[in-house]
């Protein structure tokens, strides 16, 4: 058995996990499944691409690379700026759309509105950038042997390390910061949190910003390892939901673990049945989770 699928699976799992953290947080705090989350991923990737190109142009067109990586520091600066922008996009979308529907108290209407928003956001990317794929870099990398017959490219090693750092930072943030604790309180019991003096509006804002930023990280990872397309986020949506539900709605650890399981299963399935049915893997995992344990691995509620 060739273990190389592990390498692709781990990277896919990491980026699905990051996206799923955003899904699981917004699901547990805002209480609806946001179908526009995939578009945050795609917008994050395109925003990073545009900003990176602008920086490189301002420097006179010399892209350069960092060490063995296929990209230079302009990408790292661009991804931070893009994360802030997409966080702002998520907050803005909440202001014009979700906040108004939240006031009416119908969850499913919010799901439907997010579906409409997702169509509009995705098609605007297609309108601006057309559907032909883009790339952050054209560099070709040699994969390095890391043992057990597995080879990883420097990019893949860097991205998995980066994911681990983001996860640790998020975990500390949720555990220790005032905003993080308020977020957990609203997630567990919104009515009680409100009575206890938690500023729910601020928590909602923080949730959208975090969801947008993590989505950007996820989108850029996908852009570096595969490509940038208007449908990249939409195609990731089912794996994200599957990972979030498998891990247990509201659980960050669950989302990361769920992402890893989905990513590795997809990569393993490609080995066994070929790439054509890759997208069905997430669906099978989703159905299995709903049948066996709908609360997910770490879930407690309902």
């Amino acid at each position: 058995m060739n273990l190389q699928f592990f390498a692709d699976g781990i990277v896919m799992g990491a980026l699905i996990g990051l996206g799923a953290v955003g899904v699981t947080l917004s699901y547990s705090i805002l209480r609806f499944a946001n179908f526009a989350h995939g578009e945050f991923i795609a917008w994050g990737a395109y925003a990073t691409l545009v900003l990176m190109s602008a920086i490189i142009m301002a420097l006179g067109g010399e892209a350069g690379t960092l060490g063995a990586l296929s990209f230079g520091w302009p990408l790292l600066v661009a991804v931070v700026l893009a994360a802030v922008l997409v966080g702002g996009l998520a907050v803005g979308l909440d202001r014009v759309l979700f906040a108004r529907l939240r006031a009416k108290g119908n969850v499913i209407v919010m799901v439907m509105a997010s579906f409409g928003a997702s169509m509009a956001l995705r098609s605007s990317l297609e309108f601006i950038f057309t559907s032909s794929p883009r790339y952050f870099t054209r560099e070709i990398q040699m994969a390095l042997p890391v043992g057990f017959g597995i080879r990883l490219t420097p990019d893949q090693i860097f991205l998995v390390g980066l994911t681990a750092m983001i996860v640790i930072a998020m975990d500390r943030f949720l555990a220790l910061s005032a905003t993080g604790r308020a977020m957990r309180a609203v997630s567990e019991n919104p009515a009680l949190a409100r009575v206890a003096g938690v500023d729910v509006e601020r928590v909602i804002g923080a949730t959208w910003i975090i969801a947008g930023m993590l989505a950007t990280a996820s989108g850029v990872m996908l852009g570096i390892t595969v490509q940038i397309r208007p449908y990249m986020g939409f195609d990731l949506l089912l794996p994200l939901f599957a990972a979030a539900i498998l891990g247990g709605i509201g659980s960050m650890q669950g989302a990361i673990l769920g992402g890893m399981i989905v990513g590795l299963s997809e990569a393993a399935a490609v080995q066994v049945v070929g790439a054509n049915y890759r997208a069905a893997v997430a669906f099978i995992i989703l159905i299995a989770a709903l049948l066996v344990k709908p609360t997910g691995i770490f879930g407690v509620r309902e």
Binding site: I108, M119, E302
Partner: protein, 315 residues
Amino acid sequence: MTLDIIAYLAFFLVTALSYGIICLGLNVQWGQTGLFNVGVAGFVAIGAYTSALLTTPDAAPRLGGFDFPIWVGWIAALAISALAAAVIGAITLRLRADYLAITTFGVAITIQLVALNAEKATGGPFGIGFIPRPFAGLQEQPLLFNLANLMLVSGVAFIAYVALEKLIHGPWGRVLRAIREDEVAATSLGKNANVFRLQAFVLGSAIMGLAGAIQAHFIGFIAPENYLSAITFQVWAMLIIGGSGSNRGALLGAVVVWALWSMTGAALSIVIPAEYQARAAALQIVIIGVGLAAILVVRPRGLLGERRAPDSTAG
């Protein structure tokens, strides 16, 4: 000239009414029961492919091609879509309301994948051609052909409309609305909410499957790209604009939205040069997406919706 216009109008109405039938199915699920089905395209595709496989003439490289009469295909389309909905519904309807949305979304993606890759059965990306068309003998005369098909489709739409009106205004429909408005109260009166929800979901999906078969037979050709999520989205826009909860609204919304869609498509194709056509198509979806979201915020009742908009959902 006038005859051409009438022929086109008939063609337009056949398509619009076939969407109207899908909307009637969605109205049973969403309008009456509050079930959010994001996989409309999937159930339409199941119906279309089922009927196509059963009724096409024998084709060597492909499985199926049983050459059955059209009505057998239509009944099978109803049955297979109902069966798929029963399985999905049994798994998800007992859970949180939006798990149904996520699961049906997965259904649509998986069906699309099967249509694209199971070439032995579905023809893969090339789809299935030579699907027998009703009144095929009249094909040489577009006017008569379109009018005959219009009679057939409006007949089906009318039967579906009358039957659904009867069901919805009878005891069954009252239970559905009771569950939608106040599940605890309905349950305490001895109504098993999950059983009624499952019935509504299966009935709605069966109607969608039938409509898919009708469309497939009218056009005579199907391919996976006909069943992308854009269809789901259009049908939702039709029902929301027409007014969810109302069967007349469902049919009216289908005609209005399909007219708007065709006109903006035609207008964009005249105004925008050929090399930007793909972009124009994307812009069309942006406009409809924004429109749908705006209607949800500004006028959730739509044109002919129920007086009391659903403000709480089961689950």
